[in-house]
Symmetry: C2
Subunit: 463 residues, 2 copies
């Protein structure tokens, strides 16, 4: 096993020398517009899965594309190593790109953009979330195989194409492929660093309930002069509902929402207070300065360990240029609740729908759609593999941290609930990567040091 | 002058015999997509003005197209008659047609749609508002000229192309053409009937303040997982503002909004109570049953004599299929206040903007645009011309009524303020004409009896 540590410098040097080729492969992957939520890109999602399976096969994996009722899975195995068996999980699907006019370059034609501070950004949809991130692991494997002909440990890979649209096919696939997917731990690369210089292993993930609803009133659009006052306006109803969900103190005004929500465990609270976190920089980076949300909580506490509510889309009536004096027949909103440990997604969904229904006049109607739900996940912070990974990260970066995340990675919950496997969420993404936004980017240094970090982690796990 | 009454049966019979040709001309007019609010249709608006000027010239009017900084005016005069001088006002521009998928036929390819109850609908954008309506007057003039070679009285015509977008060019044009436009009364055909069997002369018009605002928070769209709770959501702010504008009792919660608003004059209140008005039919026709708005007012009072507030459009965030977990950088709403006598549009606009500004967090911003404002108008209900017109309508329909309207016809205010002329608003439109909505229609009977009504009114004014 010291064998692996002996090879480490050579493997790192090989990855370094071949960085341009790694980047070229990433660019090819990013050029495939694999938007899972939009049916127009279904063929691109399949093409993306096929590209990845071919790439993995090229590195010596036994790789295949597995069709589902939605977008396909990519599954690959390499048994050339010994000792622990890890399952690496990533997703090859990406978010939609609108509003397209806010992009400075084609979202699916990646560019390297040098920055005034000396950084270089890889700019493209998926550059960070999750193609750039998952590719750091694939390139680390390639470097080990190129130099030693094998991997330090046993590695399986599962790449899905529906993460951005709620992973509808994943639970059933997991049941079917349970034996094949079983490993000692799941490795996930889809989270943020602690700060720009410190990679992080995330042990707390928020859950989510994603809901959409439509309020319908009159059976047609009405002239607001003829019917104004007398006819119910669905935009008013939707606005009243959204307003009613927010408490004056910034909390979420949903019946029973905070039931079961606990304060931070002392061990983590202490760690988080000791680590420096700059609220003003966190908000200043996005052009804001005043924290929203719950008044008596810190920003870090709010985004990592408190449940939240946000509207992600609203529409109704005339949206074109100029003005149209209309009372629309229908209005709509898309919203999500982020959940923490102790909250039940089904109960939150039921409380939300009851809250809405209670506010719909008897002559109007409401329709709901769910876009995915998952519970929050809390990982153990003292497992041997986590300690090895933290040390390996520290060897590469000089430091490493245990973090929470405001985001929801339902896959971690699903692995825990369905296959009894814990996940190790290792992240190299920066807060300002604009994932889900125009001009998404991944720092070239995240990509380079991400590859090097995985090379080290694979060696550490073998030791 | 009894001369005119002698001709009346012949002129009515002539119009009746030529109804198909009248309808053919209306169809040609309606086929021109003269959407004034959308710059893409600028050339169509000019073409529409040219078509109308040519049509008027064909009837013997001295007609011309007058260019403005916006869409052109059509002005025409016929001095062949004697006695009173009327100025007929109409507008040839129409509302946008979206959502296009809700139309059962091409909005600009008019169709005659027979109904189960024996009615026939002319279905097209502008079939009612205002091309169908203004054309009843033009065809009445044509019938008089065809039969007698002249008109019973002196007639001028002013047709504008910006009514649906706030008439920005009209005030300046009125100053310039003041001498030319001066007449004893303005005739307007852009209002509703009292009910399906009773034409109405509208003497109360609501004013309007049309506003749009944009709230901007972060400098980009954000991932709701990373920033949820901590970053301000502009959709929440816009929703809170809209909710805050509505009082629990259904009234408008704007500082000073009801200052100066008076109860109905007893003369009108008595008339309106005597006339039958079926609230359940009014709401039932559009698929509703419960009146919205102020709880202690009747529906008729609310839509004709009480000020109102409505949101006509809202947008923000992801509006596509599926879900995108985003906190948008910006959200937007378009809304209007309908005003009654005693309310000052400028004060309402200022109060609204102050109301909004007070609700924008210090690190966010708001921008406003005004899409037009006008005061309410109240006409005298006992002028000799109004009495003659009411009698002429009764001769044609068997009954007639004096009405209010919830709509805003700023032109009436402008004529009163700029040229000191009262307007007579004679309407043949039904409440269910779906103006500003998909499948706008005008009843063939409104068109036919509208032409006949104007033939009678012209004769009555000469008597």
């Amino acid at each position: 096993m010291t064998d692996q540590n002996a090879h480490l410098p050579t493997v790192l040097a090989h990855a370094e020398a071949n960085l341009d080729a790694s980047l070229g492969r990433l660019f090819d992957l990013v050029r495939i517009p694999s938007i899972s939520t939009d049916p127009a890109y279904k063929a691109d999602c399949l093409r993306c899965a096929e590209w990845l399976a071919a790439d993995l096969a090229g590195t010596g994996f036994d790789a295949s594309v597995r069709l589902t009722t939605g977008h396909p899975m990519v599954v690959a195995h390499d048994q050339s190593g010994e000792g622990p068996h890890v399952l690496f999980y990533g997703h090859y699907d990406v978010q939609p790109v609108d509003p397209l006019n806010l992009w400075n370059s084609d979202p699916f034609e990646p560019v390297l953009a040098p920055q005034p501070n000396g950084d270089t950004h890889i700019v493209a949809r998926g550059a960070s979330d999750d193609k750039g991130a998952l590719f750091t692991f694939l390139e680390a494997c390639r470097a080990w195989k190129d130099v030693t002909g094998k991997l330090p440990i046993r590695v399986s890979v599962l790449l899905e194409g529906e993460e951005e649209s709620g992973s509808p096919s994943l639970p059933a696939f997991m049941e079917t492929a349970a034996e094949e997917l079983k490993a000692d731990v799941v490795l996930v690369c889809d989270t943020d660093m602690w700060d720009d210089a410190t990679p992080a292993i995330t042990t707390m993930l928020r859950g989510i309930v994603k809901e959409e609803f439509w309020v319908r009133c009159a059976d047609r659009d009405l002239h607001s002069g003829i019917y104004g006052n007398a006819a119910r306006n669905p935009i008013q109803i939707v606005a009243d509902i959204i307003a009613s969900l927010r408490r004056p103190d910034g909390g979420v005004a949903l019946e029973g929402f905070y039931d079961g929500v606990k304060d931070l465990p002392p061990q983590l609270a202490e760690r988080w207070l000791k680590e420096p976190f700059d609220e003003q920089k966190f908000l200043g980076d996005i052009g804001l300065s005043i924290p929203a949300g719950e008044r008596d909580r810190t920003v870090l506490e709010q985004v990592w360990s408190r449940p939240s509510f946000d509207v992600s889309g609203i529409s109704g009536g005339y949206a074109g240029e100029g003005f149209k004096a209309v009372i629309p027949a229908e209005a709509n909103a898309k919203l999500s609740f982020r959940l923490v440990e102790g909250q039940d997604p089904d109960k939150v969904q039921q409380a939300f729908r009851a809250h809405v229904r209670a506010r719909i006049p008897a002559d109007c109607s409401v329709e709901f759609a769910n876009h995915g739900s998952s519970s929050a996940t809390v990982m153990p912070v003292d497992s041997p593999l986590l300690r090895k990974a933290l040390d390996a990260l520290k060897d590469e970066w000089g430091r490493s941290a245990i973090a929470g995340t405001g985001g929801s990675i339902p896959i971690a919950t699903v692995f825990q609930e369905r296959l009894g496997m814990d996940s190790l969420l290792v992240g190299f993404a920066r807060f300002d990567n604009r994932i889900h936004s125009p001009n998404e980017k991944y720092d070239l240094s995240s990509f380079r040091k991400g590859i090097r970090s995985w090379i080290r982690i694979l060696a550490a796990f073998a030791a």
